[in-house]
Amino acid sequence: MNNNTNRHVILALFNNIADENAFRPLLEGFPKLLSLSPPPDKNHFTGIMASAHMNPSLVILSSRFYHESRPELVAELRKQYPGADILLITLATDSLPPLQQVAKDRIRHLLVTPSDDEPEGISSQRTAINKLLVRSPWELRDYVRPGCLVHEYPLNSSRQKEALIAAVEDVIGGDSIDMELLRQRASLLADEMVENALYGAPQDHDGKKLYHKGEERSIAVDENIVFRFAFDGETLAMEIADGWGTLSPEMVVDFLSRNQEGMPMEEGEAGGRGLFIIWRFLDHLHVNIRPGQKTILGGHLKAASTLDFESPSGFSISTNYTSQ
């Protein structure tokens, strides 16, 4: 294939045909998709893949194939396809892949697929794959119905936090248990997102935090801290932008991994617990970082999503993705 035809090519690797079939609703219809179930063995992988002369933009790896059966595979893929993003996919009914290994392998994207072929859930995940293919960042509007009002709150003081959380709660109407749970989760998420931008993001050149949690502070205009949210009656999407750009992809995955592997009994709040909570309470966490300039952290959750400690959430951490 020449460079032109290599645009938006996906290479997908599965454990076996049954594994591939489980993800068929998610992946069918992508025009330049090559699926291997299973891929060539360790001794022949490099030679066979090189002879295929493909240069995928995205390599999709099934979690059932990751990591124990082929521990060397991610390193091989990186060597073979240095320009490709790697996306790990897992079924909601499967257990979460080992995050310590995910961090070690520098995998930045994990997609959790509903196992019930629910068309709307699949559709938002296909949108996420398309965004990865074109290196475009997650946008809040993509995950709510067209025309849904996006509320925007530029912040100039830490005092605005409670009013902002109340505004999120107000937009989620209804007395059902689902809506009450959504309000509880939404207020916690808004709290953590704002705290992250107010106290986590501002750092000096040595990475030392400039403000203590809970400290009342004013926000300079050039910090560009803006909170946005939208709710279409079923899906709530929220994001916070800051003008610091101090978060790194390594830090994000490391924070998630450390907290997932059993909470350390640390007494401070230096271990990324807030970010971990944001991830676990969202259906999918998105982080887009422009180092030293901007971080956008957000995600979406559905009112109908189960509040289950065991069920995994996905994440996508990108650097320097730009809107198309």
Binding site: R185, L188, G214, E269
Partner: protein, 103 residues
Amino acid sequence: MSSSFGVTARCADSTDYIELSGNIDASAEQQLQMLPGMVRCQVVRIDFSRARRINSMGIALLLRCFKHIREKNKAEIVLRELNPTNTILFKMTGIFLLASHEK
């Protein structure tokens, strides 16, 4: 219901009954630091029915407080009236390693 954090405590039948109310976040630090000093009995029952949002800083403070009660006061901690969100939050952050949950 007020969002300001508050603690009320009473002792009866060899049990400390403690009620936490409002949001549990950085603003709760001073009161949660003082809480272990209120413990007199070997069983501490903590009621969360009037507690509202608990953020990551609140979790850090609760972990510190419960650890103190367990290790220094040598008391057992029982949590009650947790809403579903806080129950999941406590599961995922290790609070239940220090305290049991009365359902």
